[in-house]
């Protein structure tokens, strides 16, 4: 049963985990209360006890490539019941934030998003580019922006064709960069984690994961912080709804117009058009969901790092500025409306362009880890094991 194991502790990694939210990591005594408390951990090789050991020992590569850190949804049942108050839930959250930094391509972007000092510069890039868009749209005439009242025409100030080019082009680039990081992560998972016994195949694994993510069923199994499910669900669907709205708007106002189709719509699309209904609902969902999660974090639900706040505040503000942009246009207050719309666009591009490096990346990494876990048979093994009756005990010759 005993097996020789060469340990190569990375002391700096231990320090970083402690700094990133796992401050009480070292109080863990490996009693494994956490692994039993966790409602999401499979009974075979459960987490987070083994992850706590890896973190304490500074086993950086093994830990960052461990898909189980992504099976964790930070319910914090483990942290509540931990007899040493080592807060395994927060330790795993810290490790996750280090994981997407670790695999980031280019890697300096991972560092930049983790550093508050780099924030002004990171904001400056979309801010300047959007000023450029504004300059193009306004064609040197800026007076209309500062009117105290009157008609507000966002599409004039920020030509939507230009915005869509930035949106689509940026996204393609970002997806390419993200793909490099995710490939690194996938290969690391394959190299460091033992594969399970039965594999359902990649496609089946993808379908299985999708069926899990769409209703947020893992969150639903949480004990301690189950209320988080609704907040996260609202943000998740709010964001997807907003992306769909943007796609539909692009199609109806720009593509159909370019094609000369009679079905094209004039910008701005307004109520009661279903596209606008979708947009408003999405914005509200992001705003409300964001508010719920922010208030939970403020109440000390779990340790919150810089990355947590940055992402949560940014996505909530996207919802807020989006809703305000609509209201201010209807209220015909150009000076505030344009400023708000500008902020909205800066935040949208801030979120999208830095997605592979900010906490936004958890969406990709978690999905990939869940797919890996399924395709390597981890979930199947666990379900089979939990369904099987307890085998009769026989005493090993030497313990």
């Amino acid at each position: 049963m005993a097996r020789a194991m060469h340990l190569d502790p990375d002391l700096d990694f231990i320090r970083q985990v402690k700094k990133a939210g796992g401050a009480d990591l070292k109080t863990c005594m490996q009693c494994a209360t956490c692994s039993v408390s966790c409602k999401l951990a499979p009974p075979d090789r459960p987490f987070p006890r083994k992850e706590m050991a890896m973190a304490q020992w500074g086993l950086k590569e093994a830990l960052l490539s461990d898909p189980d850190i992504w099976l964790c949804h930070q319910c914090n049942d483990c942290s509540t019941r931990c007899p040493r108050q080592a807060k395994p839930g927060d330790v795993l959250a810290a490790v996750r934030s280090m994981a997407f930094r670790h695999y980031a391509f280019p890697s300096f972007m991972g560092q930049a998003l983790a550093s508050p000092a780099a924030l002004p510069l990171l904001l400056l890039i979309p801010a300047l580019i959007l000023l450029g868009v504004l300059a193009v749209g306004s064609q040197g005439e800026f007076g209309y922006l500062f009117a105290g009242s009157g008609e507000v025409d966002y599409a004039h100030a920020f030509p939507h064709g230009l915005l869509e080019m930035l949106f689509i082009g940026g996204n393609l680039l970002i997806f390419a960069f993200a793909a490099v990081g995710l490939m690194r992560f996938w290969n690391a998972m394959k190299a460091h984690t033992p594969a399970g016994m039965r594999s359902p195949g990649f496609l089946a694994a993808m379908t299985g994961v999708a069926m899990e993510i769409l209703p947020h069923s893992k969150f639903g199994q949480c004990g301690e912080s189950k209320p988080r499910q609704l907040g996260h669900l609202l943000i998740f669907y709010g964001f997807i709804g907003a992306m769909i709205t943007a796609g539909l708007a692009l199609f109806f106002t720009i593509i159909l117009e370019t094609l000369g189709s009679p079905f094209f719509l004039h910008s701005p699309i307004d109520l009661p058009n279903p596209i606008k209904i979708l947009g408003v609902a999405s914005g509200l969902a992001m705003l409300i969901g964001g508010g719920m999660l922010i208030s939970r974090r403020l109440s000390g639900d779990s340790v919150s790092g810089y990355q947590d706040w940055l992402f949560l505040i940014a996505i909530t503000l996207v919802g807020l500025t989006g809703m305000l942009a609509w209201a201010l246009r209807l209220a015909e207050i150009p000076v505030v409306a344009y400023l708000d719309y500008y902020l909205h666009l800066v935040l949208v591009f801030f979120l999208l362009w830095y997605a592979p490096y900010s906490k936004f990346a958890h969406m990709f990494y978690r999905t990939l880890a869940l797919v890996y876990a399924r395709s390597s048979g981890r979930e199947l093994v666990s379900q089979a094991a939990s369904a099987a009756p307890v085998a009769p005990q026989s005493k090993p010759a030497a313990a």
Binding site: M29, V36, D44, K50, V390
Partner: protein, 420 residues
């Protein structure tokens, strides 16, 4: 020994509070050195927690051994004055000069009692027996082994119950006196030894382990009663739900111990106690599977041999991993869940009974000793500078042997405190 008159003043060298193994030891050793001692005990019997046990580890002898030796030493010893049913109301002074006011609570049975038991037989009132943790009942008039003096006693909460007139009427010796009143006395002593012992950590607070919800989850101290010939089952270990036999049993170590949410410390005795109790089970059930779930087996010193002996048993299994959850299955069986940290798999085992190895909480944590005696962060008596010296588990968690040794030492500590 007669109850002193109300308002009496008694002078002594030491006042020892608590008549368990530690207090008895301290009182006897001090008296054998020539000191005058007053030993007070709030219960009607001596022996305390130890008297409840079935056997001591590691020698597996019954507690009567040690207690009887103490009884013999007390016999003919005119330097120890024993007051049972007695509590300390308040104390003043300091090292060398302490004055304590005691209340001797009424026994409601006088010295005419011959312990014939007619009163109990006639008694129509049954109550849950706290001595057996509610696993059995006793009469409102009852006799306890180790009763001192060896008389029956009436439950003070029921002394006013009119149904108890039947007990009085049944006594041929007119020994039952339901009108008996408490007596207040003052003890002037040079020092106080505080040996008020401990209680098991309240298992009801361990909400994931099912105690109080599932009948077959018991605590280690309850198992002592179940294994004890004088206990509720006359020593037959049977599970509470149906008095069924044991085929598979789990011992849950550190139930609330070493836990920041409960008792932050290790009591240092529960591992050896569970190994001892595994032997109780083995004696009665040669084929039973015994599973012990632990974080670390803490059997220091010679107790390591005791542990090694249990490991030789082919059907005692040690699992490294704390039990995180106990659920109930069909037929009041229990599912005990723990991660085996040596294999990395969660074990969900169905057992017929689970024993929670709860730790020791000093009684001083709830009832502070007098004279502003300092306690440590967990409620154990710290230094003896106040004039109050801790003895036995009032000073630290300990097994019987260590408690007795510590109690002997406490006498010297109490004397030294007077010199400083």
């Amino acid at each position: 020994m007669n109850v002193p008159d109300n308002g009496a003043r008694i002078t002594a060298d030491l006042l020892v509070v608590g008549g368990g193994i530690a207090g008895m030891t301290a009182a006897i050793e001090a008296s054998e050195m020539g000191l005058e001692v007053v030993l007070v005990e709030k219960e009607p019997f001596l022996g305390g927690r130890v008297a409840q046990f079935n056997q001591y580890f590691p020698k597996m002898c019954p507690p009567w051994c040690g207690l009887e030796i103490n009884y013999r030493r007390l016999r003919g010893n005119d330097k120890v004055r024993i007051l049972t049913l007695t509590t300390v109301d308040q104390a003043s002074g300091g090292p060398g000069n302490c004055e304590a006011r005691l209340t001797i609570h009424p026994r409601y049975v006088n010295e005419n009692c011959t312990a014939c038991g007619d009163c109990a037989q006639a008694c129509p009132v049954d109550v849950p027996d706290e001595y057996n943790f509610g696993l059995s009942t006793r009469k409102a008039v009852y006799y306890r082994d180790m009763a001192f003096p060896p008389l029956y006693v009436v439950d003070p909460a029921l002394a006013g119950d009119p149904r108890l007139q039947a007990c009085r009427d049944a006594c041929k010796y007119e020994a039952v006196d339901l009108a008996m009143q408490p007596v207040t006395v003052t003890v002037q002593a040079k020092g106080i030894i505080w040996a008020t012992g401990w209680q098991p950590y309240d298992a009801n607070k361990l909400d994931t382990l099912g105690f109080g919800k599932f009948p077959n989850v018991v605590t280690n101290v309850m198992l002592e009663r179940l294994a004890s010939a004088g206990g509720p089952t006359e020593g037959k270990i049977r599970r509470p739900s149906d008095q069924g036999a044991i085929g598979k049993i789990a011992f849950v170590q550190c139930a609330g111990s070493r836990d920041a949410n409960h008792l932050p410390y290790c009591s240092g005795v529960c591992c050896a106690a569970s190994i001892k109790q595994a032997q109780y089970v083995r004696e009665q059930y040669p084929e039973a599977e015994i599973h012990l779930f632990y974080i670390d087996v803490r059997t220091p010193g010679r107790l390591e041999d005791f542990y090694a002996g249990a490991e030789k048993d082919a059907k005692i299994f040690f699992h490294r991993g704390k039990v995180g959850e106990i659920r109930e299955a069909a037929n009041h069986n229990l599912i005990v869940a723990a991660e085996n940290t040596l294999t990395g798999k969660v074990t969900e085992m169905e057992v017929e009974m689970a024993v929670l190895a709860t730790g020791m909480v000093p009684n001083t944590a709830q009832e502070r000793p007098p004279l502003d005696t300092p306690l440590d962060e967990w409620g154990f008596v710290g230094s003896s500078a106040s004039g109050v010296t801790g003895a036995g588990v009032a000073s630290r968690p300990a097994d019987v042997a260590a408690s007795v040794q510590q109690a002997t030492g406490s006498v010297i500590q109490a004397l030294l405190a007077q010199r400083r």
